[in-house]
Amino acid sequence: MNRKLFIATSISSALAACSPIGTALNNNQKFHAALGSAEKLNHALIGTRGMAREYRDGDVDRDFRVNGLPTPSDSNYQLLVARHFEPYRLVIDGAVERRGGFSLAQLQAMQQTTQITRHDCVEGWSVIGKWTGVRLRDFLAAVGPRPDARYAVFYCMDKDDQNTPYYESLDLHQAMHPQTLLALRLNDAPLDPDHGAPVRLRVPTQLGYKSAKWVWRIELVGSFATIYSGAGGYWEDQGYEWYAGI
């Protein structure tokens, strides 16, 4: 009986030690980096293939769940809202042939595409919305990416409580995907401030944090290593995978 007690105690101690050992390993930089190696494998194997499922009108969530950082509350954004985004310009610069700024009216005048797709948050929940806007590939075709452009970086107007702004990045392969959208409308209405007005990104083949809201500038770059903390996005800088297809 003593032997059984010993075995039972050993097993329960081993189980109880798992979480502390895991937490200790988690704080080890080399181990932490090794864990991240799966991302490269997943990116190589899954990548950006196929098309996200498109739904019917009846599937749409009329009350689309608001996600991400708080809606910008600074005076500049308030002014934009008050003036119905008339002064807004979507800046495009970096490795492009034609740098410039696009007004909302100019974006609305471009070829519009509608998709009803599911937004999958990294937290686990999903919501379906109807998005209308300009395909990012059409927009990029209009400005002409230079051969040295590898990534599109999206700068946003929202900031966290440390005043760190949101940003995101996509490789050009994902940027050129036919379902990657510069969305101007949600559920048949212009985007409201809580959902990223006036322009947000929609990337239905990756997790929700890639679909940056309140985009004001797109920069094409060869590398994002020198932008903010260098991981390619606000959440990526905090440890989330840059490749969010899984």
Binding site: S19, N26, L35, A38, R53, G124, P204, T205, G245
Partner: protein, 267 residues
Amino acid sequence: MQMGRKIYRYAVTTRLSHWFWVIAFGVLVSSGLQIFNAAPYLDASDKSDPARRVLSINSPAQGVGTTTIFGRTFTTTGWLGYTDDGMGGRGPRGFPGWITIPSFQDLADGRRWHLFFAWIAAACWIAWLISTAIKGNLRELILRPSDVPKLWPMQAYYLHLRKEPPPHGIYNPLQKAAYTTVGFVVAPLVVLTGLALSPGIDAIAQPLTWLLGGRQFARLWHFAGMLALLAFFVIHTFQVLTQGFVNQMNSMITGWYRVGSEDVAGQ
């Protein structure tokens, strides 16, 4: 202790993959619960739908934890909903910090662990499958129609309703049934339901997520598969503990199993 004949039962690939699998499974469960905690509910639907919520873990008031299963709510303070926050205190949280990796709430790192050890688990399974198939031992392991009539006699033997186990090969019929179900039904389903959660894979293989009832449903299946594997783990551990623990552990470490000694286990 009776001295039985020793047989070489487990090849080195089987033993290695077994122990790697133990580690990987432990990490996958605890990092999976960490990921679950970010949205501590499960819906039988494609998009999130509170009307089709099967399980939710909540903290409706400060210091109170509740778990709702199929519409029935239980108070689970201290265990689920309001529990160990992994930082020495208590707080609103799905599963407690002592069972998650990392212990504190950290979805990003939970995902890192989970997506890395998913590869370890898959690699173990494939390595074991290939080596076992090459050696021809799969035939010893997979349940055949001729084993089905022997299932109850074997169970009766375990329940001490019968003196002798029914005649069988290296594995008895119950072991075969368990290993076949876990290794070739549940484990692959857990992998598939996990893959269905990936928006990138959903875009490549839309029918997979659709067949599972949608993305949230896939999340529910993935969780249910984890529970099934956990149930196997508990029964398996119990069996090992009660059916000649030392002999069983020896055989999974050295490969050599003493035949017949389970009859005198614990004596």
